[in-house]
């Protein structure tokens, strides 16, 4: 956005510094998943449709950004957006690398696996 407005120059991107940086995930509480698994699956079917739509109709998708974020349309149409996996899944190596960096720089007290936290079973196959 800063670049679009001619204010800044990108020195190094997240991707330059930590390739394939995983920013965030969609979570549900265990209580909800246990009581309403079909609703979680329904939501994720819709989310995967969104991933595909963004890939195939990027300009139309970007047109929705101002309504929800307040970002100006001219910026929304050219700003960089994330690479969304159409499967909703990412390789474990991407995630483990970020964990190792968090431990290295003191943001995480010890190495921990996300095996007990990641559950792809609600995603469409």
């Amino acid at each position: 956005m800063l670049e679009v407005h001619g204010v800044s120059r990108l020195l190094s991107s997240f991707h330059d510094i930590i390739p394939d940086f995983v920013f965030s995930g969609v979570f549900f509480s265990d209580t909800f998943l246990n009581s309403h698994p079909e609703q979680a699956k329904a939501f994720l079917r819709g989310l995967v449709k969104s991933f595909v739509f963004i890939r195939e109709h990027g300009a139309e998708a970007r047109g929705f950004i101002p309504k929800y974020t307040g970002v100006q349309r001219d910026v929304a149409m050219v700003c960089a957006i994330r690479n969304f996996s159409v499967t909703g899944r990412e390789p474990n190596g991407f995630i483990d690398h970020q964990r190792d960096l968090m431990v290295k720089f003191g943001s995480l007290s010890k190495s921990v696996t996300l095996d007990s936290v990641i559950d792809y079973s609600y995603l469409p196959q």
Binding site: L2, L11, L47, S50, I54, R82, S85, D119
Partner: protein, 190 residues
């Protein structure tokens, strides 16, 4: 009269047979999901605008909540069912055995990513090594600190070699311009 009733049943059968989703909002369960009001939550916005969630049988309501701790607390209290949460929070959730699951990732960086370390357009900072001794604005989130620490590490520097200024609001990008234009900082992580 009998013919009218038969036609009515045929009409109802045809409508029911289309597989159209329920049209009345009240017929669908509502999922309340946290979001940051961020560009990168575009899949949420697309799903809402294109009706993808409702086509699949749920209605989605986005709830703006700041901070991973607040988001997880809201989910544990049942105020939301889930939402978007940064990766670092999930490691801490795993350590603390917080009862939640990440069910899908919400995007990665790529060679065209614009998030990163920005300097003023006319800055004489050309590489990360040039950041030594400079004032760098960042939110203070684990993500921003990890990215800056790694950038400095790759350049043979540490956080002690720069002057971090924590606290910028990542959800107020227009303020970032003012910060850089003010010349009070030499670089900003956004």
């Amino acid at each position: 009269m009998k013919r009218f009733i038969v036609l009515l049943f045929i009409a109802l059968f045809l409508v029911a047979g289309t597989g159209l989703p329920a049209t009345a909002d009240g017929d669908l369960p509502v999922l309340r999901l946290s979001y940051f009001r961020d560009i990168d939550e575009l899949p949420f916005y697309v799903g809402l605008e294109k009706g993808f969630f409702e086509q699949e049988g749920v209605k989605v309501e986005l709830v703006r909540i700041g901070g991973s701790t607040n988001i997880m607390a809201a989910a544990m209290r049942g105020e939301i069912q889930g939402g978007n949460i940064p990766l670092p929070a999930l490691f801490h959730a795993s350590l603390r055995k917080i009862p939640l699951k990440v069910v899908s990732w919400l995007g990665t960086s790529h060679p065209g990513t614009k998030c990163g370390i920005h300097v003023s357009k006319d800055s004489d900072i050309r590489t990360a090594k040039d950041l030594k001794g400079k004032r760098i604005a960042l939110s203070g989130s684990i993500v921003s600190k990890t990215v800056l620490s790694e950038a400095l590490d790759l350049a043979g520097l540490t956080m002690k070699d720069v002057k971090p200024m924590l606290g910028i609001d990542m959800q107020e990008p227009m303020k970032h311009e003012a910060v850089l234009n003010s010349s009070q900082v030499h670089a900003i992580i956004t």
